[in-house]
Subunit: 299 residues, 2 copies
């Protein structure tokens, strides 16, 4: 036979690899399409049919790559969270712990307003999505998932760890009450940032203040007023006669606070979600979930 001297396995392996690459590529296309839909129309509008239309495959094909719509959503969450974490990395180098925390806070808020639908998906939709993000961010990030079960990172706690480290330094420097429970402080601080983002995403009630200003006041309140490097001691904000400087604007507040390029276009034009009438239908939907009406864009 013509091929008798060649190990057939070589061909097989090459074919297997090619198929694997193709499969992986399609998986990425699916996720890309899903990401675009979520950003443009909100998570509630994400459906298997729409994704299939976008990539020009049949809906049934999607199920060869993802077990369900939920699995796609969770993957998006993990990706988004990894993206958020990347934003934090360079900020961890800031020497002064208070300034570091402020920078992290600004980056967090900036991410939320820059990627509203991603933020919603991760932190405002369904706890199971939040869990997926925190638990699966490592595999979703740059690393290949050839060793997905590694989990030596647990990226879910990465952000928390960065925060707690800064807090410990702060306490060690006597700039935070020695009896303060750091975990509690961290949670309350995070809640403040989350509240600012969430309010901006769904409640345009206070059109009043510019986001930067609000963030500035919040950070000053939690971490004390200090311009740049000037370490100031204790000086908690709202003390009785205490501080009286005004709120200084925190300067920069852009999407890429860390100087990192964002994969997501973001700022899509406020997905019909809040712009149009209906917005994001909640949904956790399973069966049907007629989803959102935000057809605005498509039509």
């Amino acid at each position: 036979m013509t091929f008798q001297f060649v190990n057939p396995k070589m061909f097989v392996m090459g074919i297997v690899e090619r198929k694997s690459r193709q499969k992986q590529a399609l998986r990425e296309r699916i996720l890309d399409a899903a990401r675009r839909i979520v950003m443009r129309e909100g998570f509630a509008a994400l459906s298997m049919r729409k994704i299939a239309d976008a990539i020009e495959y049949s809906p049934a094909t999607l199920y060869l790559h993802f077990a369900s719509r939920d699995e796609i959503a969770q993957t998006l969450c993990a990706e988004g969270y990894a993206q958020l974490l990347e934003t934090f990395v360079p900020l961890a180098q800031i020497a002064d712990p208070a300034e570091r925390l402020k920078a992290l806070g600004r980056a967090y808020v900036a991410f939320g307003v820059a990627h509203p639908e991603t933020y919603r998906l991760i932190f405002m939709e369904d706890p199971s999505y939040t869990g997926a993000a925190l638990g699966g961010a490592a595999t979703a990030s740059g690393k290949t998932n050839l060793a997905p079960a590694k989990a030596d990172d647990d990226p879910g706690d990465a952000a928390l760890h960065i925060m707690l480290t800064a807090l410990e330094e702060l306490k060690a420097a006597g700039r935070l009450s020695a009896s303060m429970d750091l975990a509690v402080w961290a949670e309350a601080f995070w809640a403040t940032l989350h509240g600012i983002v969430a309010l901006n995403l769904t409640c345009p009630v206070f059109p009043g203040a510019p986001l930067d200003t609000v963030v500035g006041v919040a950070l000053d309140t939690w971490l004390g007023t200090q311009s740049a490097g000037q370490p100031q001691r204790a000086a908690r904000s709202a003390r009785a006669g205490g501080k009286k400087k005004s709120a200084e604007a925190p300067a920069e507040l852009h999407a890429e606070a860390g100087g990192e390029p964002a994969a997501q276009p973001s700022q899509p034009s406020q997905p019909a979600a809040r712009a149009g009438k209906k917005a994001t239908k909640p949904a956790g939907a399973s069966a049907n979930e007629p989803a959102t009406k935000p057809k605005a864009a498509s039509a």
Copy 2:
């Protein structure tokens, strides 16, 4: 004729009134059923069919009382917001402005965790619902809607006004930076409370700290440390100088902070929507909305 001495109009008017009462009663039954569904299964699971089933009428009948599912949702929002405002009323009597703000903050958070689905509906779902709540709370509250167009109240700003008043007192007393923009401070403060509630409702990520503790730290940070020991005994704490111990728990944090009975059972058990995996599929649905908006059914 037997009835010749009686003005037929008297009968007519009585009949009209009876019919009006019956109609109003059915309207209330519809809202009751809707409220129960939202509390039990989440807003996403609210559908005309379910409401109709619950009150044992056909779906078509609902449209004689409400133009759409959305109108029902907005009415619920307005009711819920009115309920929240009622919680605030007694607290406005607290003399010390800082203590007043703390009590308001605790009441706010308590309301959020006591009525999670109502809170979601008002502040976390759709901006148009938030608007409906803030704009329509007066008519939804106790008052009859015989004079619905009155709008001399604008309850939407009521809460904000209470807060700003307290802030002005605080500033006047020198306990707040003279240059602080009160509106900004108010927004950031509200964001903190909202963040605490929102995080608790959708992100059981930090199981760590008890809610009371987190709220306590947040209030101390924003308003200075001073005992919050007893509920609202007019707070003897004349000024800030007083206590400075670490974060102490703020004591009470129950749903009925104001001492008012809540109509809603609340604490339904995390609607299947987010609790269980798939269970009750949410189904958001503005299903079709046949492009044409001409709903405007007769009232």
